[in-house]
């Protein structure tokens, strides 16, 4: 003995609902196949519905006057014997269950197996289908190397249109750039790197000598503040600088993978981010580099307010990210991007420029390999990130091209001695060499 339910069919090619006008049977009635069980009214007409089942009417699942969605069970019939049971279509049962929300677990209440009478109504979806393999490439997507034998004999430069524009704007010849993209294409940083390297003196046009013998610029505002800070710092703290060259290839690969990951979609990711994280880690291992000197005491901070030297239209400022040690990599990336954008717009708030504990300065963005940075007043350490570019390096006994950079740092020798300085810089550099150390 099985129960069969008859869901409201779409009788008119695209109808979504119908009203039960009149039941012609009641529970307990014997019903034959094709016997009229009810009359419904649709948008188009009055229609009599014939029973798909033979058996005894078990329950009327909708009332006269009810407007019922197509696909909702309207009547259940107790069937006689297995060989008269109607094949079940699990997909329809599920769809009907979604719509009606009333498939009980006890009796099977299978839906009539059909496919066309339930078209227009049940197509809404709330989520994507689950995948086993990543989404397929577009139908037109054929990578150039698959195209034809002839194509591969021509080494056309591969680059997306925005990159081509960037190269053009920067005066970089695309065919001279070493591409690092996964398909062999030139990436933005490849162009920038090339622009940095090739054009330290990159002004395409040198301006003519001014006609007047001199220009006099008043010392005021930001320029005055910078000057005061520099003097204060330089001539109160004894500066010492240390340098180490490191193979940063793994950092570059890590950055590329971050860029490709959906977590970091739309967020600026660069080697600077990794170096900032490296510095925080290195501070954890060498806490005294993260201090402030007063004549009476050295205040070792157990939080990192990370300052980032930023060039603005009015000059150099050093806004800082508060409590950077608490931020995840992603949060840090967002904070750094925010900080730089705000600085460029000249909108940095005064409180963001105070209470820094350690600073990073990016000389590489100017195409400079390294330098001897001046401490930010109130701090005892500053790290300089230089260019990261291909250089010969010894790997497993052989000369290979690796992405090499110089990590430089200046320290206040009143607080930081040579051993601490070296250990700190070595720690930072070792992360650049092996970002996995951050998993510590």
């Amino acid at each position: 003995m099985a129960h069969f339910t008859f869901p409201m069919p779409d009788v008119g090619e695209g109808l979504t609902e119908a009203e039960i006008v009149q039941w012609r049977v009641k529970p307990g009635d014997q019903v034959a196949i094709n016997q009229i069980v009810c009359e419904i009214e649709t948008a188009k007409s009055l229609v009599e519905l014939p029973s798909p089942f033979v058996g005894v009417v078990h329950e009327l699942l909708a009332n006269e006057g009810d407007t019922v969605q197509v696909g909702t069970p309207i009547i259940s019939v107790q069937g006689e014997g297995e060989d008269e049971s109607v094949p079940v279509d699990p997909a329809v049962t599920e769809a009907v269950a979604d719509v009606a929300g009333s498939v009980s677990k006890e009796d099977t209440t299978p839906a009539v197996k059909n496919l066309v009478g339930y078209g227009a109504g049940t197509n809404e979806r709330a989520s994507r289908r689950r995948r086993v393999t990543p989404s397929v490439e577009g139908m037109a997507d054929v990578s150039p190397s698959e195209v034809s034998p002839d194509a591969s004999s021509h080494t056309a430069v591969l680059a997306k249109p925005p990159i081509r524009k960037l190269a053009k704007d920067l005066g970089v010849s695309l065919s001279d750039v070493i591409p690092t993209g996964p398909g062999g294409e030139v990436l933005r940083e490849d162009v920038l790197r090339d622009a940095g390297q090739a054009t330290v003196f990159k002004n395409l046009q040198t301006p003519a000598w001014p006609e007047n013998r001199e220009d006099r610029i008043p010392v005021k505002g930001v320029r005055k503040a910078i000057a005061q800070a520099m003097v204060k710092s330089m001539f109160s703290a004894p500066h010492v600088s240390v340098f180490v060259d490191v193979d940063a290839t793994r950092t570059m690969e890590f950055v590329k993978r971050l860029k490709a990951s959906s977590d970091f979609a739309g967020i600026k990711v660069s080697p600077l981010l990794v170096m900032v994280k490296a510095m925080i880690w290195a501070v954890q291992r060498n806490p005294t580099v993260n201090s402030t000197w007063t004549d009476e005491e050295i205040i070792v901070h157990h939080f990192v307010n990370m300052g980032v030297a930023a060039a603005t239209p009015r000059g150099l400022i050093v806004p800082n990210v508060k409590d950077a040690q608490l931020l995840s990599l992603r949060e840090l990336a967002v904070a750094l991007e925010q900080l730089t954008t705000t600085a460029r717009e000249g909108k940095t708030a005064p409180e963001d420029m105070t209470n820094g504990t350690i600073t990073i300065t990016n000389l590489g963005s100017f195409g400079v390999d390294t330098g001897t940075p001046i401490l930010n007043p109130g701090e005892v350490s500053i790290v300089a990130l230089g260019t990261i570019k291909p250089k010969p390096w010894i790997v497993e006994g052989e000369v290979r091209a690796r992405m090499v950079t110089t990590v430089a740092a200046s320290f206040d020798h009143r607080v930081v001695d040579g051993d601490v300085a070296s250990r700190f810089v070595a720690d930072v550099a070792s992360v650049m060499e092996e970002p996995a150390l951050l998993l510590d």
């Binding site: 008119g12 086993v132 989404s135």
Partner: protein, 371 residues
């Protein structure tokens, strides 16, 4: 009163043969028919009508997007279909279920089409040249005419051998008769004198538009205007339907050019299951035609000849069995394979078909089963 002075019949509504000089040659055309043939006419009309009712029910139970009923038109179709010869080619519209049955089509194939499993459903070479249903009205009239032209070019007609000479019958309705294609087909047919019969089932309605909107003259007179020998018959008289078709097809295959038959009949049901005739039809009109039902008329004829009641019971039972079998097999119909989208679009290999099928295959497999 839909009948005109020109309407020819052999059988009155009472089932008694009509005495009329005008139909003398038509009587002769059925002289070779015997009791067996008459019973077969009745059996087919009854079985196909029962099939039609069952299919309508199946649609109401959600098994088809729509069903196209032919109820009321059985005599026009059965008579004409039996009158054609095995070597003939038949071009239907989309409501000729009786003709399909007679030509050997498994009527489940019509259900498969309306269920959305196929846009065709059968191979005319395997259904005694019964071609596919055509859903764009009247396009088949030109295909039929072209086919008939081919018969002419092949020299496969006009030899005088009725069992070998080929002819084409094309079915269409009063609505389709207004389409440009029908008129162009008549033009081509008369220009090339094709071995062809145009069989117009005037069932008086094109969905909700009555035939008087299609034409102010009886439709058979229009054909005469093109130069085709043309006759109007009582389409609910299966014997007349047979006779007129027999004579016309044999004349056409024998080199006398295309002929035209207008069979007056009635669409008892709706245009399709999406239609509601109560919105536009007169109850009186329906009652008139129900009183002129072709199967009732022929039953009267058979009973008048002494056919035993057991025969009718057996036919009714056979019809029930047929319907039950259709129901069972309808519930078993499987979806077509996904590849069907791309297969058979072209006869020859086609890069786009190959590429797009490969893509869809990969795309489908990228999802979890049943997701």
């Amino acid at each position: 009163m839909p009948y005109t002075d020109s309407t020819l019949r052999l059988l009155g509504q009472d089932g008694i043969l009509v005495k009329d000089d005008r139909v003398e040659k038509y009587h002769q055309a059925i002289e070779h028919l015997d009791e067996k043939d008459f019973r077969e006419f009745f059996r087919v009309m009854t079985v196909v009508r029962r099939f039609d009712v069952e299919a309508g029910n199946l649609q109401r139970q959600g098994h088809m997007a729509l069903w196209v009923p032919s109820i009321g038109q059985e005599a026009a179709q059965v008579g004409s279909a039996f009158a054609s010869r095995p070597q003939d080619h038949i071009f239907p519209a989309y409501r000729e279920h009786s003709v399909a049955y007679i030509r050997g089509l498994d009527l489940l194939d019509i259900i498969r089409m309306l269920r959305g499993v196929t846009n065709g459903g059968w191979d005319p070479k395997k259904t005694n040249n019964f071609h596919l249903y055509t859903l764009v009205l009247a396009t088949q009239t030109l295909h039929a005419t072209g086919y008939a032209m081919g018969i002419g070019y092949d020299g496969a007609c006009s030899t005088g051998d009725l069992d070998k000479d080929e002819a084409v019958m094309v079915y269409f309705g009063d609505g389709a008769s207004s389409e440009g294609d029908t008129n162009e087909a008549l033009i081509f047919a008369q220009s090339y004198q094709t071995p062809q019969v145009f069989f117009l089932q005037n069932n008086h309605w094109a969905i909700s538009v009555p035939v008087r909107v299609q034409s102010r003259t009886p439709l058979f007179e229009r054909a005469a205007g093109f130069g085709l020998p043309s006759v109007q018959i009582d389409g609910n008289d299966v014997l007349m339907s047979y006779a007129a078709t027999r004579l016309s097809m044999d004349a056409a295959r024998s080199g006398q050019g295309p002929h035209f038959i207008e069979a007056l009949t009635y669409r008892i049901g709706a245009h399709t299951t999406s239609d509601d005739p109560t919105k536009y039809r007169d109850d009186d009109e329906l009652k008139f035609w129900q009183a002129h039902d072709p199967i009732d008329r022929f039953r009267s004829f058979l009973e008048g000849r002494g056919t035993e009641s057991a025969f009718f019971e057996n036919v009714a039972e056979e019809a029930e069995d047929y319907a039950a079998d259709i129901r069972k097999r309808t519930l078993e119909i499987q979806d077509p394979p996904l590849e069907q989208i791309f297969r058979d679009v072209f006869t020859e290999d086609h890069t786009v078909m190959t590429q797009e099928w490969e893509w869809l295959k990969e795309y489908t497999q990228s999802f979890e089963e049943g997701a």
